[in-house]
Structure formats: C-alpha cells, structure tokens
C-alpha cells in the first residue's frame, strides 16, 4: 500500500452548490494508488491556525488521472480551502486507510448529503469491473438543491437513483433509509455501502442487520495524523475485548458489525 506526502497542484476548485465544492488536484502517485473509500489528509493553509490537516475522502480519480475531492464548507479549514485558486499547491498525504471491499455482485449504495464523497469513486470502479454488478443507488439530501449537487456525476454515469429529501422538494420526503425497504422485496442478499451522518449510518446498519444484508460504512472521527500514530481517531468496537478501533487505519470503511453503534 504505497503512501505519499506530495505537493499537489490545484487544477480546479469549483462551486457545486451553495456550500459544496469540487476540487481537482494533480497528484499522479496518489491518484494511481487510490482505492475507493480511501482518504487524503490535506494541508491547504500556511501558519498554525488552523493547525491540523483535514481528512477528505477521494471522490474520484478522473479520466485524466487527477484526484478529485468533493467537500462541504463547514469551518475555518474548508473555508480556506474554498478560497484556493488554480496553480496553488496543496500538501496532501495519501491514499490512507482501508477502503471498500466490493467483490460482491449485488451492490446497494446509500448516501446522505456530503457522505456521497467516497461512494462515487466506488460506483465508478464497480461499473468498470469485468463482471459489473447489479447496482442500486439511494441518495438522501436536505433539499433538491443539495441533491442536484451530489448526484450530478452519478447521473452522468447513467445509473438509476432513488432519492429522498428532508423537505420533500425532490423524490421521497423523509430519510433515505425508508427507501431501503422498497428494494428488499426485489431480491435478497444485497451488500450495502454507505456514507453519511452518524444517525443515518446507524439506521442503515440496523436495517441491514434486520434484513440480513452485508453492510460497509465509511465513518468520520476527529483525526490528527491520519497515519495511525496519534490514536486520536478511536471508534468504539462491537467486541468489548478490542475496545477501540481506529478510523484512519482500521477504517474509514468498516463492516457495520465491527462497530458498537452507541
């Protein structure tokens, strides 16, 4: 698993919705090594405030071999990132962590909001695999505007989407997990790949457990190093004797049954 610390060159930093940006970086080594579900640690600011790198999932490797991230502006770090311009350099470490294991044939992708980020990379790889799987994509967002921002690339791939919004402005009104029941009867034995806010992931894990489906979730925790050195990214394990797993090394993608879901 090759890992690098590199100065990536910013190629494009595009506003997708009001607070979501898509950034394209030239960093051939990292792009080549990147597998779906992995992440990079980004330092896009000089000085010590903010101090720490910020973790971002790899949204995709473009056809030109560039690295793309999809990020939501939340606080200081992402605000500074959104202000960056083409040709500037961004120090990245990656690709990091354990990604999705997707040799299964029936794939259900469940995303919520910016949690879509690692799922698009997965989707692209799945569609390109020699024995393309049966794929269902279910996507949740706050509103139609956010939905269009996070699904636009999926639509270009021609996959069919089940969509749910909190305000009902597009698709089903309610949590995306309510769409999972609909595919239940179609067929048995889905493997679910999910990323989104913690409460959604918890619900997804519960439903999968109920239905007997396999479930892989991409988790977020605070991270200082991203390389398994600080032990800051602890996440409670299902097995008490293990205590804690570490998101940057054992994850960010976990089998839902590995986690305690407290």
């Amino acid at each position: 698993m090759p890992q690098f610390q590199k100065k990536a060159i910013l190629l494009q930093n595009k506003k997708v919705t009001e607070d979501i940006y898509k950034i394209t970086l030239e960093s051939p080594e990292v792009a080549r090594a990147a597998r779906p579900g992995q992440f990079v640690m980004v330092k896009a600011f000089n000085g010590f405030d903010p101090l720490l790198r910020r973790p971002f999932s790899i949204y995709q490797v473009t056809d030109n071999g560039n690295l793309q991230l999809l990020y939501k502006v939340i606080g200081k770090g992402t605000k500074l990132l959104a202000g960056m311009k083409p040709e500037q350099h961004i120090d990245i470490i990656g690709p990091l962590g354990r990604g999705f294991a997707f040799d299964r044939s029936k794939i259900c992708i469940v995303g919520g909001g910016i949690g879509v980020a690692p799922l698009f990379h997965l989707m692209k790889r799945v569609l390109r695999s020699p024995h393309p799987s049966k794929v269902t994509v279910l996507m949740g967002a706050r509103s139609r505007e956010e939905m269009l921002g996070i699904t636009q690339d999926f639509e270009k791939l021609g996959v069919e989407l089940g969509v749910a919004t909190d305000d009902g402005s597009m698709g089903h009104k309610g949590p995306v997990t309510e769409l999972m029941g609909e595919i239940r009867d179609q067929d048995a034995g889905w493997t679910v790949f999910s990323c989104g806010p913690y409460p959604m992931l918890k619900a997804v894990a519960k439903i999968c457990d109920e239905y007997g489906w396999e479930c892989q979730v991409s988790m977020e925790t605070m991270m200082a190093c991203g390389v398994a050195a600080c032990l800051g990214c602890a996440i409670p394990a299902a097995a008490e004797e293990i205590g804690y797993l570490h998101t940057c090394k054992d994850g960010p993608v976990f089998d839902a049954r590995e986690l305690a879901w407290i």
């Binding site: 405030d49 790198r53 470490i93 200082a224 190093c225 050195a229 602890a234 804690y244």
Partner: protein
C-alpha cells in the same frame, strides 16, 4: 565551511546520538507508521508511544480537538502493552540505524520499575524515558510529576531496576519546575526531558458538553512553545544532567531556540502530524544554520544564550 564538516552528534547521559532530533512519545507511533514519509535512519532517536505492563484501551472518543495553534488530546495512554511491543514493534525499530528510546508509564512505582527491568533484558534499546505525568493510583490519582517527592521516588526505583540510560520526562503543570528537576536528578536519572502537555479543556457551546469525552486533555503544539522554552531554560540552569527540549517545535528555528536555551537535544511531537517529513527537515535546517554561522559543532550552541 563545508556542510559535511558540521558535527551534529550529541550525547544524552551515555547515549550517543547522530544528531539531536528525536520524535516525541505518542506522536510517532512505533516508528513504522512514518516509514513511508521519513528516512528513519536519519533521526537522532525514535521515542515510542508510552508502554505499560498490560495493554490499555485508552479513553472514549472524542479524544482530540484542535485549539488555536495547538491541539488537546486525551488518548488515555492507549498502548499495546509490553509483550506485544517486544514481539511485534521492537524488531522493526531495531533494524533502523536510529537509537530507540522506550517511554514507559504505570499506575504505581512498582509498575515502572518492573517495566524498566524487563526492558533491560532486551538488546538494542537505547534508553528508557519515564513519563511521570500519569496519575499515581495509590496516591489518590495525583500525577507523579506534580510532586517532587513522588517524582524522585519513581526515578529512584527505576534507577535501581535498570542500567540503561534513564530519562525522566517532566510535567509542566507545576509551580516550580526546577524543584522537580533537581529532585529527579538527585534520584539518579541521566537526563531530563520536558515538557509534557499542559492541561487544558474545550467546550462545545451548542451542546454545552466538553469537546473531549474525558473533559480535560493535554495541550500540545506551537501554542505551548514559549512555556516549554522558558521551562527548559530554567531547568538547564539548575541541573547538571543533559536536558531534552520538547514543546511546539515545528521548525529548525524552533529547535535551535531550545538548543540555545540549554537543551542538548530536542523532541518533535505534534509537528509530525502536520508535516510527517518535519524531523528530517529540522535536521537539515540545524545543519544549515550552523554552517551559515560558521559553527562546526551543534554542541557549541547548546546553552549559549547571552542574557
């Protein structure tokens, strides 16, 4: 002056280092984690994550939070325990050309001593660093390092248990750092390293809960550098054993400040997270500084502050 004639070697209580740049305990894993980014052979020493007799699970998350120019951590001394360290982690480290220093921690004096004794059986360990910022469970949980008598006691017991070079790492959360330093020197340590983290806290104002599940945590990073430098200077003036400077060091200039203040070597902690290559860059930076100032040995700037 030729850059290759610059001599970076220093000695820490009998332990000869190729240069004064070490990695601070808990910020460099067991070394291996950084091998994709750093040439481990070039470092002065690698100090591993604090080891206890038994494995520890650590504190519940959240364990870290960013603060202005710093971070708080409450890892809770999670570690693999002595046996796994010896069997799984040490062999990799011993393959590097770099000295390996084992940071140890315990709940009571006896545990420290037992750890030191068991580690002494293993060839290749360069030195032991005792983390006395841990709570003394037998004394109501007060940290060993905040009381000069407890600090001296644990030092003396470990001293008896090992003939390896012995470094005592001080807690900065004290009124009189010199008092503690003199006590552990007298108790027989070979070097003193400082500082460990400052106790701090952060609150999430939306939920009105602490940002760390453990409520309080240790502050590290550039924010604490001025406090660390002051303490290193104070201690270097009142002890005869070598002093190792730690706290917020993030550049060669920072490292040089500590050397000038009296540190014979320095440790890089939080900066490893921000820039995994920082240790090598600091080694190069110290060398360049010495060359520019036509100083042929790093030892000549140690404690050279003009006041």
């Amino acid at each position: 002056m030729d850059i290759d004639t610059v001599d970076l070697r220093v000695a820490i209580g009998g332990l000869a280092l190729q240069n004064p740049v070490m990695t601070a305990s808990g910020t460099f894993g067991y070394g291996e984690e950084f091998s994709p980014y750093v040439n481990l052979h070039r470092l002065g020493a690698i100090i591993v994550k604090g080891i206890s007799l038994q494995p520890r699970k650590g504190n519940p998350p959240p364990r870290i939070v960013e603060t202005p120019c710093g971070m708080l951590n409450s890892i809770g001394l999670e570690n693999v325990g002595l046996d796994t360290f010896i069997s799984d982690k040490l062999p990799f480290l011993l393959e590097t050309r770099t000295k390996v220093i084992v940071n140890i921690l315990g709940d009571c004096v006896e545990e420290y001593a037992e750890l030191a004794q068991k580690l002494s059986d293993h060839k290749g360990i360069g030195a032991i660093e005792i983390n006395i910022s841990c709570p003394n469970v037998k004394k109501g949980g007060v940290a060993f390092g905040t009381d000069h008598k407890m600090a001296a006691e644990v030092t003396a017991k470990v001293r008896k248990a090992t003939s390896l070079p012995l470094i005592v790492k001080l807690s900065p959360n004290v009124t009189d750092i010199a008092l503690i330093a003199k006590a552990v020197e007298e108790a027989g340590c070979d070097a003193i390293s400082l500082i460990n983290t400052l106790l701090g806290m952060a609150i999430d104002i939306q939920s009105r809960t602490p940002k760390l599940r453990n409520v309080v945590g240790g502050l590290s990073g550039p924010a604490i550098k001025p406090v660390a430098l002051r303490m290193v200077w104070q201690v270097a003036q009142c002890v005869n054993v070598p002093v190792i400077g730690i706290g917020g060091i993030s550049s060669a200039a920072d490292a040089i400040e500590f050397l000038i203040a009296g540190a014979s070597a320095i440790q890089i902690g939080t900066a490893n997270f921000i820039n995994p290559q920082i240790t090598e860059q600091i080694i190069t930076g110290i060398k360049n500084y010495l060359q520019e100032h036509e100083i042929d040995s790093v030892r000549k700037i140690i404690g050279s502050l003009k006041v």
